[in-house]
């Protein structure tokens, strides 16, 4: 029988080896896949019942904090959002059953105190009963955000303001928004009900449209077309002079492209940008060709997800498959056809012009602090894209200043500051005529680099005239920029 016993031993050893191999697969080699499984909410559950850092705005307004719950509650801490819907799209919510969004998601490790910096500190006091969490300070300002909210009112739309020099976002507001307290509540069935209600709303209040929804940019895109012209060398500040025309018929078609209201326009770059001349820019796009247009659009950040520190940013789109379809290229040159952009993207177009052609990496968080209020992590401003050369950016800046001084963006002007802008009206339909009213712009002390850039879209406005953007969107952008300039103490 000893022969069989030896074999039995080998057999049982083999069984245990199989277990060991499988154990390695589950705990080590396949572990990441299991952790990433959407069913797996272990990490969020772990963080949910733990202290969590506070989120404050650049102007010291608390927008998210964890408060101890009353004795006997199921969880020790409750997450609350004192400003309600004001920062819902950027700060997001932190919920056990619904997950986390916004800064609550992208800075989860810091807020929970799990980054290497924060945990190494906690080694010092391993035996002291004290929790280390990171507090997050936003670049966003509550005062600017409130102005954006008040002026947009109950109109669907978005406002983005940023500092073109650093990429720091100053305001990101969309209406409709939602109250994150309704989703972060520990009454899970109430949270689920609230979530279902928000989801059922066709205006999609849960979606952060500032950086996750694309719209036709309309004439605001002409800034990019102008940049493409300058970059190609075929267009300068005063050459060529486009003929004054009522309509332009691209090659390959009989269908002419018209100016708004049947008007006539033409002239040099400054002239055509000032009056937002469709015929001239459409012809410019055709003359420059597909490669130049795509190249410049992509150097402005189109067709790439911006490296913002928020989850799931949308890519703005400039088509790359014209295949010599020149009528389509002509339309794309004036921001129509399949061109679409997030409000963030269009704010970055203005910022590129304002910041000598450089687009800085957009971000919402200024620094991370520990509970002694000392900074543990402070991201440095970095350049994301070189949109145009500094020389060409200076020409575009001057052109946009003229638009705000004497063109369609006159409502943007702020006395005592250098202000540039570009309006846009993206037509949605003709019966009844509706359009998105756009404006992009920048402002700063004269002769100094502009210290704020904005993009405002008010969606689905009645009418379709080139004036719409200037009338509807410009006052919001102006007030937002004024608030920023005041907060900066005169542009410092």
């Amino acid at each position: 029988m000893s022969n069989q016993i030896a074999k039995l031993g080998v057999g049982l050893l083999a069984c245990f080896l199989v277990l060991f191999v499988q154990l390695n697969r589950v705990t080590v080699f396949g572990a990441q896949e299991l952790k990433d499984n959407p069913v797996n909410n272990r990490s969020i559950l772990r963080d949910f019942d733990a202290p969590r850092g506070t989120i404050v705005t650049a102007d010291e307004v608390i927008v998210a904090r964890s408060e101890p719950t009353p004795e006997g509650s199921r969880f020790e801490f409750a997450r609350t959002y004192p400003e309600g819907d004001l920062f819902a799209h950027t700060v997001g919510y932190f919920s056990l059953n619904l997950g986390a969004t916004g800064v609550e998601d992208s800075y989860n490790a810091e807020l929970a105190g799990r980054t290497i910096d924060l945990s190494f500190r906690s080694l010092d006091d391993l035996f002291v009963d004290r929790d280390r969490v990171g507090d997050v300070r936003l670049t966003l300002r509550a005062d600017v955000q409130r102005v954006a909210k008040d002026l947009l009112g109950e109109r669907q739309g978005s406002v983005v303001a940023l500092d073109p020099r650093s990429g720091e976002l100053l305001a990101m507001w969309s209406w409709p928004s939602f109250d994150p307290n309704a989703l972060a509540t520990q009454d899970f069935s109430a949270a689920n009900d609230a979530f279902a209600l928000f989801q059922a709303d066709e205006r999609d209040p849960l979606l952060a449209k500032t950086y996750r929804e694309r719209f036709f940019p309309g004439s605001t895109f002409k800034v990019v077309t102008a940049a493409a012209g300058l970059a190609s060398g075929e267009i300068t500040a005063d050459q060529p002079v486009y003929p004054v025309a009522r309509e332009y018929t691209p090659p390959q078609t009989n269908r002419p492209l018209r100016n708004f209201g049947g008007s006539s326009c033409g002239g040099d770059l400054f002239d055509i940008l000032r009056v937002s001349c469709n015929t001239a820019f459409a012809q410019m796009a055709v003359d420059l060709g597909e490669d130049q247009m795509v190249g410049t659009a992509e150097s402005f950040g189109f067709n790439a997800a911006p490296p913002i520190d928020l989850p799931a940013p949308a890519q703005s789109v400039f088509p790359t498959d014209f295949e010599q379809n020149l009528p389509a290229l002509a339309q794309a040159g004036i921001g129509q056809n399949d061109v679409s952009a997030t409000p963030l993207q269009m704010a970055m177009v203005a910022a590129a012009v304002a910041n000598e052609g450089r687009i800085m990496t957009p971000r919402t968080v200024a620094d991370i602090r520990d509970d002694d209020n000392s900074v543990v992590d402070e991201p440095e401003p970095t350049q994301w894209r070189r949109a145009v050369s500094a020389e060409h950016a200076a020409v575009l800046r001057q052109a946009m200043v003229e638009v705000a001084e004497r063109g369609t963006a006159r409502n943007l002007a702020i006395p005592g500051f250098e202000v540039g802008g570009k309006t846009g009206t993206a037509q949605l339909g003709t019966d009844p005529p509706r359009s998105h009213a756009w404006i992009i712009g920048f402002a700063g002390l004269p002769g100094q680099p502009p210290s704020v850039a904005v993009a405002v879209i008010v969606e689905g406005q009645p009418g379709a005239s080139e004036q719409t953007g200037g009338q509807v969107a410009a006052p919001i952008a102006k007030a937002v920029m004024e608030t920023v300039l005041a907060a900066q103490g005169g542009g410092a």
Binding site: L12, F16, L23, V28, A31
Partner: protein, 437 residues
């Protein structure tokens, strides 16, 4: 040499007790950052229980193997620490830890009693048919009205007064005793092949009765009690013992064929068997439902990674039945791959020691019994850890010595005592021979 074995045992027991106390202290640190105030009394009680068992072995089986008891003590200790930790983390907890402590004491009592009453393992051989009757009786007990209980879908419990008991745990050992006795008597006949069935060389069909009976009993247990794990365990036990006794591979082939036939029958007849297999192959579509337990166990193991979260720093209480069948997932989460592998190694060493006892046993009955008991221990461990890690379809059995559960713990201590008794007898049998030479 004899004293050396006992000294080794005592030394290992102290090491095991210190590891247990260390784990207990870590659990306290993990829970509320404090070393438990009762750490020293705790260590005292653990040592007291184990030293009592050790002294009993010294007195009653002085020549027995020296590493089986410390390994069992270590596993029991780790299991107990985890049961305390899991119990405290649950809303309605606080009850299991005390019960498990009591069952440990009862288990050690049963261990000593077994050593006391079974002075010579071979003396059990002649009661083989009594054991057969007792074993079948124990298996059938839960099916009786009044005392039989169905818990979690399995009718494997009996209740007498306030106490619940799983007679199947005892039946495993009693049936191993019967198989050993029966096979020793019949092994020559069973090893002859007088009958051919296709490629199989079989003994006279009349000797095949018992294997078919074992198969029928296994199927019956599965059908009537819905206890897949025990059913599988009985069948593997019998086929392995038959093969060890006769050395005929034909029995493994025949056993495998019958197993496949039984498995096919069960799969086609019972929806709960189909569910188990479906969940094993792909638990994700039913992750909120039938697959919840195994999915949560996988997440727990993945969270543990190589080094684990630390005792009382994970969230294993999300797994249903974590203190009993799924305690290995909690160990994997909080002690990581390293700790889980250490537990695996402890079982492997026990299996190795058990087979060594079988090899050196003084009689064929002892050899067969030791092989059978070791197979029970090893295969039961394989079935449950394999189920938790999705190596096999999940069939609920306890993890020997570690899981919460009185019946299982007490009967495993009896199993351990029988192995030690066989080991002691074999050395004692040889010693006079050497002295005489």
């Amino acid at each position: 040499m004899i004293l050396l074995r006992r000294r080794t045992e005592l030394g290992l027991i102290v090491v095991g007790a210190l590891i247990t106390a260390g784990a207990y202290a870590l659990a306290g640190l993990g829970r509320d950052a404090e070393i438990p105030a009762n750490l020293v009394p705790f260590l005292g009680i653990v040592l007291g229980l184990l030293v009592t068992a050790h002294l009993a072995v010294r007195r009653l089986a002085p020549d027995a193997d020296g590493i089986l008891l410390p390994l069992a003590a270590l596993l029991n200790g780790i299991g107990y620490v985890f049961i305390v930790r899991l119990d405290e983390a649950q809303a309605d907890g606080g009850r299991l830890a005390g019960l498990q402590a009591m069952w440990t004491a009862v288990g050690i009592g049963a261990f000593i009693a077994t050593l006391l009453f079974v002075r010579r393992s071979r003396s059990l051989e002649r009661y083989r048919y009594t054991f057969a009757a007792i074993g079948l009786g124990l298996l059938l007990l839960p099916l009786l009205p009044v005392i039989g209980r169905t818990i979690n879908g399995s009718r494997i419990w009996i209740s007498i007064g306030p106490a619940n008991f799983q007679p199947g745990e005892a039946a495993k050992i009693v049936l191993a005793l019967f198989f050993a006795g029966y096979l020793v008597e019949r092994r020559e006949l069973l090893a002859l092949s007088t009958f051919r069935l296709g490629p199989l060389h079989l003994p006279d069909p009349k000797h095949l009765g018992p294997i078919l009976l074992a198969w029928g009993v296994s199927l019956g247990v599965m059908t009537l009690q819905k206890d897949l794990g025990s059913s599988l365990l009985f069948f593997v036990l019998f086929v392995v013992m038959l093969w060890v006794a006769t050395g005929r591979v034909t029995y493994l082939t025949l056993g495998g064929t019958l197993f496949l036939a039984g498995a096919t029958f069960a799969y086609t007849q019972f929806s709960h068997v189909q569910d188990r297999v479906a969940v094993w192959l792909d638990p994700w579509p039913v992750a909120d439902d039938e697959g919840y337990q195994i999915v949560e166990a996988s997440f727990a193991l993945a969270d543990g990674g190589i080094a684990g979260t630390g005792i009382a720093l994970g969230t294993p209480t999300r797994i249903p039945e974590v203190e009993t069948d799924f305690i290995f997932a909690a160990i994997g989460e909080e002690l990581g791959l390293i700790g889980a592998t250490a537990v695996l190694c402890a079982y492997l060493l026990m299996v190795g020691a058990g087979l060594r006892v079988a090899l050196r046993a003084e009689s064929a009955f002892d050899t067969l019994l030791a092989s059978g008991l070791t197979t029970l221990l090893g295969v039961q461990t394989f079935i449950i850890i394999g189920g938790i890690t999705r190596t096999l379809p999940l069939t609920g059995v306890t993890l020997p010595f570690v899981s919460y559960g009185g019946s299982s713990l007490v009967m495993n201590y009896v199993l351990l005592a029988l192995l030690l008794r066989i080991s002691d007898n074999s050395v004692a049998a040889r010693a006079p021979a050497r002295a005489g030479a």
